[in-house]
Structure formats: C-alpha cells, structure tokens
Amino acid sequence: MRIRTSDDFGLSRAGIMFEVNNEEQYPLLSKDFEDAAEELRTTGQLLPQTRATLEKVLPLEHFQLSQKTA
C-alpha cells in the first residue's frame, strides 16, 4: 500500500491504519515527522517536510483470514 500526502505548512505524522473483522485497529505504517517539526520550532532552521510518499506491504497471510472476514 502506498500513500502520498502533503500539507502547505508541514507534516507531523502520517500513516495507514487497518483492521480485520471489526476488531482493533493497527498501524500498518506510522511515520513521525515530529523531530523535524520540533527542530524547526526550536532552531527555526529546518524546512518542514511538506510532502511524503509512504509505502508498506500489508502481509495478509499473517492473519487468519477467511472469506467471511469483513
């Protein structure tokens, strides 16, 4: 799965959440841009990241899925 995200001012977090069978949600991918954002706030020297493309494979075979899985 791949996502592309952008924000005029800068990103702090982005990711992909998934769930199986109406149960708990898990992050497949969660990228934290907060370090860069913090550095920007304290030093004012780093350009915030305004665009990102994130990608990760969701290994469905790790879950006991069946045709009835919602």
């Binding site: 001012f9 990103l11 982005a14 959440m17 915030p48 899925l65 919602a70």
Partner: protein
C-alpha cells in the same frame, strides 16, 4: 478495511485528516478442472450481483456516516439534509436486503438468516442516524456489512451445490431483476 491519515504541524493542536475507508474482499482462489461441458450456471461460482451492489452501497453509506460524524465534531452542527439523505438510503438498503432474502426463500434457498440480520442492523443504523448518533450508526453499519459479506459467501456455496437447473435459472433471473431495481435512473 484500511485508511490513511496525516497530521500537520499546527502548534498546539495538529490538524488531522483521514481518507475514506477502503475495503479488501477475501475471495477463494479456485481452480476448476472439468472434463464435461456442464450446462450454463452449473458447477460455477455464481456472484449475486444484486448482493454485491448492496454491499458496495452499504460501504459507501458507512464512509458517508463517518464523514458526517467527523464534520459534526468539527463544526458542532449536524448536516441535517445530508443526514436525512443517508437515513433514506439506509432504509432503502434495508428494504432491498429484505426483498433479496425473501426472493431467495421463495426460490428454495434458505441461507437467508444473515441477510435478515443485516437488515436489522441497517434499520438500527437508520434509527441511530435519526437520533443524531453517528457513532452508533457507524458500528451498526459495520455489523450489517459483516453479515452481508458472510451471507454472500454462504450463498455462493449454496448456489454451487445446487443441481436443480430450474432453480438455478430462476435464481439468475431473480438476481437480474433485483439488480434492475437497484439501478438508479440516469437522472439521479
């Protein structure tokens, strides 16, 4: 089911945005080896297209409910016209599900209990929307989806096992008829 999210760097209160929910259908991987040419419809997996359409519309309604919930939390005001439209849609979906289940029963397919459970969940969701309870409506629509998906798989197996040519033909015709009913006029 999955979705993506992103948050910006607004100091104090980062703004968060989320995509609509996306769905993954788990379908069996089949290899059919056949020596004989069976008559059309026999020995093949049949997808009930009317039911596929109901599932697609229920997924769309679920996404719309989540959007309205988010919007209400953000603005403090419910979007009443959109909510009314969604209540109407959910009611129509419940009716279509009931019609589909009853039609199957009349044609000798009794694997319909899950469809009636889906209908009940849909009606409950419509009631929750009427009361402005989007969180409850979201959960009820998810339940409805779960029932619909399980029903779809059981119906496919029931169809596969059925050897009565007349019944299979009647089912195909019924499915086409239900699909026509669900199809909206172009003016919509």
């Amino acid at each position: 089911m999955y979705y993506a999210f992103a948050e910006d760097i607004k100091p104090g209160q980062p703004q968060r945005t989320e995509t609509d929910l996306r769905f993954i259908d788990i379908r069996p991987f089949r290899r059919n080896y056949r020596v004989l040419d069976l008559p059309e419809g026999m020995g093949q997996v049949r997808q009930f297209k009317a039911l596929e359409e109901i599932i697609a519309r229920q997924r769309s309604a679920l996404n719309r409910t989540i959007q309205l919930n988010r919007q209400q939390k953000h603005t403090g005001q419910p979007d009443l016209p959109a909510t009314d439209a969604l209540i109407k849609l959910e009611g129509e979906l419940a009716q279509a599900t009931r019609d589909f289940a009853e039609g199957l029963l009349q044609r000798g397919i009794d694997e319909t209990e899950l469809l009636f459970q889906a209908e009940t969940a849909m009606l409950a969701a419509a009631d929750s929307l009427s009361a402005g309870n989007y969180d409850a409506a979201t959960l009820q629509m998810r339940e409805a989806l779960k029932y619909l998906i399980e029903a779809r798989d059981r119906l496919e197996i029931a169809y596969l096992k059925n050897r009565n040519r007349a019944t299979l033909a009647a089912l195909r015709q019924f499915d086409r008829m239900q699909q026509q009913k669900l199809r909206r006029p172009k003016s919509d």
